[in-house]
């Protein structure tokens, strides 16, 4: 007995399939560089890319310690050993010692950027990548590139170079580290705007601390080795300059400590790499609560330091409550900046919303297994806390086992943030100023009208009517003209009342002290009523806005719900996004990678499915926008205009994510896309885009699921047909078999000559005929099955229509001989390129069909002609014709005519598989042709098929001597 294969043994095919899946998924994650490689080098560190280069940072406490010098010295040493060193950028600041160190090194040309009329010379990362040195020197890692550069920061340039496999030497001062930015600002009173995310430092392969005692630095400063000329004099002032001794000591300590931390984490990394178990509790998480407040930045940095010290993950959370849903634009922007800062410090961010901020935060913390929450100290006055309750108190009360850390806030916005506020707020002020002036003007008109009305009712000495009418005017003004208008109206109404109605009239003097009270009450009532009315109006306006947005979203979701196809979804999304955002929109979907596309390596290319608005901006020829879109899709992260990634592109790209992963991408270029941020400064717009992307993502996913459902339904249908086929087959096969068996056994049992010759002949005839019918049935069945399964490969060759018809008729010769039958094939028909074994079967089946469903002696015929680049063949009869609804059904499988006409001459006339015409249809369709049935005039049915005529027609043999070779003379 043979041992059976163990059931647990995996199927090799399945293994291979699984292997392929794994491979392709890795491929998708790591797409290879393509045409826009220069731009996207960062995005495309794929399988084909070289291993990333090493980063060495020359780290110092402040300018002047000799970082650049140390870097160049190291470079010179490497160059002396024959290593290919290139200088991407080195700032010598005119220092001669440093300049001498540059001698003999290959200095790459800088990129010229013109900005604001000034020509700036920047490090050219792309050129450096093309140059491919072994070691590239890039000074001043924290440098911010000139606006309009591909990357905002130099450290991003450096990252590209590293990804391209180039080793980089660079320099960095401690105050440029993002997390130390605050501390340094506190110590020195100078805040630098150029920062480098800590992870860049942390992930460096080597840190070389360039250290110099403060005294030595002072020595160098005095010697003019750091700053030249006037600057030197200022810098060296030991009193209160940046370089005062206290500063330097503190900075030195910071630099040393940060380097030590790096060494520590390097050790840790080493341990992890070697599989040495971590000794600290893993998975600690810290949440920092972020608000639009300017002090949140400091809070985030503090939390980052805490997280770094604890080796914990940091999550920055903003809680949106009903009170904070309507932030001013500047608050929004600040909040956004704070969250982005958190991201750049390596934190993940989340936005929660709910009634109670404290409860939301705690719930979030518990859900995420967060152990510590960092919040800022409140700036609210004590009385406000007593009335409204304190957020921190609530938080502590709800906290449970979560620790709450309350961190001191800054004294106020930092200088940089001030500057930011100033520019943002002044524009805001200008806009709102213009609006207020307009409101006041309108309220003046209203008050004037009210005063005019009151004038008509002037009945001294009782002035209550007049004051009421004027108050009414204030209310109207409040409703109509907003809050500023309401306040203005109150004042104006009091002035008008005083001027027009109280004694002395037409003067602002007040005689009657009672009137002062009236004025006061009027003013107070006017202000209160006006404020209330104005607020309610604003609220209703906001509600209206929200409702419009909701309605638009609803319209979108309703349309999406009705969409059945992915392309339809894309079109709907493109149209709605265009209307909602006032933007040019593209919606893309990934296409399955084609096997022969060079370099595609399984990455899903994006295909533009729908677009609205201006064309051509997306496919601008350079492939830049498409490249950004591809990056965004590959990394499942928004990119482009107004984002951190590739912000100089025209459009913003948001991947469409369904529950099962990314399904597409939307690209949006705002029509009002002016300014550096492409018009994305308004967070509402970004949120609207996010909402659309979310809806589109789930709609696309739903459609995809629907399609697979549809496929399953088709499978079921196919299965149903298969079983129908089976039952039909068994019936149709058994019938002739029964006849054959019967006839043969009759002959056998009467073999002793008891049957007369006629009976014997009839029985034998039955056997032969039924066998032939059985053969036909099986042939049809096999053919139909092969056609259906797609197993039929056409062997096309050139042939003539006449020959096809001739072969098709051959096996019907006897049957046709008994009928009026006509063939009309013009001699000059074009040749057709078809399967010359298969196509005649169509003619054969059509004739058989005609024979079967028409009475004996009914005229039949075949005719052919050429028409509009097609060859048409028609098989007609003058029988009873088709019923009204039959023409479309006859080609269906197992369809049988209403009743076979008795006396049909074909041997298989009585029953058949109903497959003949289905086969015709399959064969013709496989040839790219068309087949249909129609009535034949004057009566009867016609079955017609047409086939395309291929051009060019084959070259026919040239017979130079076309002369007739007769009578043996043409030898």
């Amino acid at each position: 007995m043979l041992p059976e294969q163990p059931p647990s043994r995996p199927n090799p095919d399945e293994l291979i399939a699984r292997l392929r899946r794994t491979r392709s998924s890795t491929d998708t994650a790591n797409p290879a560089p393509d045409g826009s490689a220069a731009l996207l080098g960062a995005a495309n560190a794929g399988d084909g890319a070289p291993p990333p280069g090493h980063l060495k940072i020359f780290f110092g406490m402040c300018p002047g310690v000799g970082k650049t010098y140390a870097m160049l010295a190291a470079a010179q040493r490497m160059a002396a050993q024959g290593v290919d060193v290139a200088v991407g950028i080195a700032e010598t600041h005119g220092r001669t010692e440093t300049e001498q160190m540059l001698l003999g090194l290959d200095i790459l040309p800088r990129r010229r950027v013109t900005y604001g009329g000034v020509e700036l010379r920047e490090f050219d990362a792309d050129a450096a990548i093309r140059r491919r040195p072994d070691i590239l020197l890039v000074d001043e890692l924290a440098h911010t590139n000139a606006p309009g550069s591909a990357r905002e920061k130099r450290w991003q340039d450096v990252r590209e170079c590293l990804r391209a496999g180039i080793n980089v030497y660079t320099t960095l001062n401690v105050q440029h580290l993002e997390s130390l930015n605050d501390v340094v600002a506190q110590i020195t009173g100078v805040r630098v705007g150029e920062t480098v995310p800590d992870h860049v430092f942390d992930e460096a392969d080597e840190i070389e601390l360039v250290d110099l005692p403060p005294e030595a630095l002072h020595e160098r400063l005095r010697a003019g080795k750091v700053y030249l000329g006037e600057n030197a004099a200022r810098a060296v002032d030991p009193g209160d300059g940046f370089f005062r001794r206290g500063n330097l000591t503190a900075l030195r300590e910071l630099a040393l400590r940060r380097t030590a931390e790096w060494v520590d984490s390097d050790m840790r990394r080493y341990k992890q790499d070697r599989g040495i178990r971590a000794v600290w509790p893993a998975g600690e998480r810290i949440v920092v609560a972020v608000s639009p407040s300017p002090m949140s930045g400091k809070l985030v940095r503090a939390a980052k330091r805490m997280a770094a010290g604890l080796h914990a993950d940091l999550i920055a959370v903003y809680v949106e409550t009903p009170r904070t849903t309507h932030l001013s634009a500047s608050d929004r922007a600040r909040l956004d900046a704070n969250l982005r800062l958190a991201e750049s410090l390596g934190a993940t961010t989340a936005t929660l919303s709910g009634e109670n901020a404290a409860r939301q935060l705690i719930a979030f913390a518990q859900a995420r297994n967060v152990s510590k929450i960092v919040v800022g100290k409140t700036e609210r006055p004590r009385w406000k806390e007593l009335v409204l309750g304190s957020f921190i108190d609530n938080l502590i009360r709800e906290s449970g086992d979560v620790d709450i850390y309350v961190v001191r806030g800054d004294e106020g916005p930092t200088a940089a943030e001030h500057a930011f506020d100033a520019s943002g707020a002044s524009a805001h002020r200008r806009r709102s100023g213009a609006r207020a002036a307009w409101q006041i003007a309108r309220s003046a008109v209203v008050v004037a009208a009210a005063a005019g009305l009151a004038w008509l009712f002037y009945h001294p000495p009782d002035l209550s009517d007049e004051s009421l009418i004027l108050l009414g005017g204030v209310v109207v003004a409040a409703l109509w003209c907003g809050r500023a208008g309401a306040a203005a109206a109150s004042v104006l109404a009091v002035l008008a009342f005083n001027f027009l109605f109280t004694e002395p009239r037409f003067s602002l003097n007040i005689y009657d002290s009672g009137n002062v009270l009236t004025f006061g009450v009027m003013l107070a009532v006017g202000l209160v009523v006006g404020t209330l009315a104005g607020r309610s109006r604003e609220q209703s306006q906001r509600a209206g806005d929200r409702e419009r947005a909701t309605a638009a979203q609803y319209a979108l979701s309703r349309e999406l719900a009705a969409a059945r196809e992915a392309s339809e979804v894309c079109r709907i999304v493109a149209r709605h996004a265009h209307d909602l955002l006032q933007a040019d929109v593209v919606v893309c979907m990934p296409v399955a990678p084609t096997a022969n596309a060079p370099g595609a390596q399984g990455a899903s290319r994006l295909d533009t499915i729908a677009a609205s608005g201006a064309p051509d901006w997306f496919d601008d020829g350079a492939g830049r926008e498409r490249g950004v879109a591809q990056w965004s899709f590959d990394h499942a992260r928004p990119a482009g205009s107004g984002t951190q990634k590739l912000p100089s592109s025209a459009g913003r790209y948001v991947p469409l994510i369904g529950a099962g992963g990314k399904v597409g991408l939307i690209g949006v270029r705002l029509s009002r896309g002016d300014g550096a941020d492409g018009g994305w400064s308004d967070p509402e717009t970004a949120q609207a885009l996010e909402a659309i992307a979310t809806q589109a993502g789930s709609a696309l996913e739903r459609v995809a699921l629907g399609e697979s459902h549809q496929a399953a339904r088709l499978d079921a249908e196919r299965e149903r047909l298969r079983s129908a086929l089976l039952s039909s087959v068994s019936h149709d096969l058994r019938t002739p078999l029964a006849s054959i068996t019967g006839a043969a056994s009759a002959l056998e049992s009467h073999s002793a000559g008891t049957l007369d010759d006629t009976t014997r002949a009839a029985l034998l005839r039955t056997i032969v005929d039924e066998s032939s019918r059985l053969n036909d049935i099986i042939a049809n069945l096999v053919f139909a099955t092969r056609l259906e399964s797609g197993a039929v490969a056409l062997r096309r060759e050139w042939t003539t229509v006449e020959e096809v018809i001739g072969v098709g008729l051959a096996r019907h010769r006897e049957a046709l001989a008994s009928r009026p039958f006509r063939v009309q094939v013009p001699p000059d028909l074009p040749m057709i390129r078809v399967d010359s074994a298969m196509l005649p079967q169509v003619v054969h089946n059509l004739i058989e069909n005609a024979l079967r469903y028409t009475p004996a002696n009914t005229p039949l015929g075949v005719s052919a002609w050429a028409s509009q680049g097609r060859v048409v063949v028609k098989v007609w009869d003058q029988g009873p014709g088709l019923a009204d609804n039959e023409a479309s059904k006859v080609f269906e499988r197992f369809y049988r005519g209403r009743a076979s006409k008795a006396g049909g001459a074909a041997p298989a006339a009585s029953t058949g598989m109903g497959l003949g015409l289905t086969i015709c249809e399959g064969v013709i369709r496989a040839h790219g042709g068309r087949i249909w049935a129609e009535p034949h005039s004057p009566h009867g049915a016609a079955f017609i098929f047409s086939l395309p005529v291929e051009e060019p027609q084959p070259v026919l043999p040239q017979e130079p001597d076309r002369a007739e070779a007769g009578a043996g003379g043409a030898k």
Partner: protein, 257 residues
């Protein structure tokens, strides 16, 4: 079962009767073939496997071989090739597959003709007769085979081709007339006449008539076959003399039919 039935056919063919070798693994088919062949004065040898078939083909000197293409132990094509290295005995291929490419392949490696299962007795005997005649002519001496003119009559229409005098005549209800052909048409017709009754694959015809470099140019053949039919047939779309074997080639009707 037929033992006690009176039959005009002697049960044991004489020793000088032609010998047919049936290489076929299906017992019922072998039985049917043996019965038919012996009834028609053949001696019959049987082989169930391709090995045995090849062995017998070179040891018993059959006059004709009926070879099933679907033998379980081997490739019918290979059997044909092997036999052809030793002998020119006519081989008729029996194919149940209905796939034209198999037949074409068998014919191209040297089989003489083919029959698609299921086939009738009439068809079988006609193929054997044609094959035997051609092998006899070939044995007699090549050029002499052309001496006898081809003459076939179907449905009251007679085609007569005299290769020696290069004359082609049609006789039908309206009398006898000469048909004038172009040199190429005549060349094609002459080839078919030489192999009258046998199937010729497209490649064979194209190589012979137009040369080996045109072996793939089926369109030449289609056009000339059409021209020939216009001149020879009463109804070119329902040809009786020049018959198409769909997907395989052409056959000029056997004059003995």
């Amino acid at each position: 079962m037929s033992d006690n039935r009176a039959s005009p056919i002697p049960t044991q063919p004489p020793a000088h009767a032609p010998l047919a070798l049936v290489i076929e693994d299906e017992e019922p088919i072998r039985r049917f073939l043996r019965a038919t062949l012996e009834a028609n004065h053949f001696r019959v040898k049987e082989a169930e496997t391709s090995r045995d078939g090849v062995l017998q083909a070179v040891t018993v000197y059959p006059d004709i071989i009926l070879l099933d293409l679907g033998l379980p132990d081997g490739d019918g094509l290979q059997v044909t090739r092997t036999i052809r290295t030793e002998s020119r005995v006519p081989i008729i291929v029996l194919s149940a597959r209905g796939q034209e490419s198999d037949k074409v392949a068998a014919l191209d490696v040297g089989a003489d003709d083919y029959l698609t299962k299921p086939f009738g007795v009439g068809e079988l005997l006609a193929r054997i007769r044609v094959a035997l005649r051609h092998s006899a002519l070939g044995a007699a001496s090549g050029p002499a085979g052309e001496a006898r003119p081809y003459e076939a009559t179907i449905d009251g229409r007679t085609l007569r081709v005299d290769l020696a005098s290069r004359l082609v005549h049609i006789t039908d209800g309206s009398g006898r007339r000469e048909v004038r052909l172009t040199p190429m048409e005549f060349k094609l017709l002459a080839l078919l006449v030489k192999h009258a009754g046998r199937v010729l694959t497209h490649a064979m015809i194209l190589k012979e008539v137009w040369g080996p470099q045109h072996a793939g140019d089926v369109q030449y053949l289609r056009v000339y076959a059409g021209e020939l039919r216009k001149k020879l047939e009463s109804e070119p779309a329902q040809p009786r003399f020049l018959v198409t074997e769909p997907g395989v080639g052409y056959r000029l009707s056997d004059p003995a039919l």
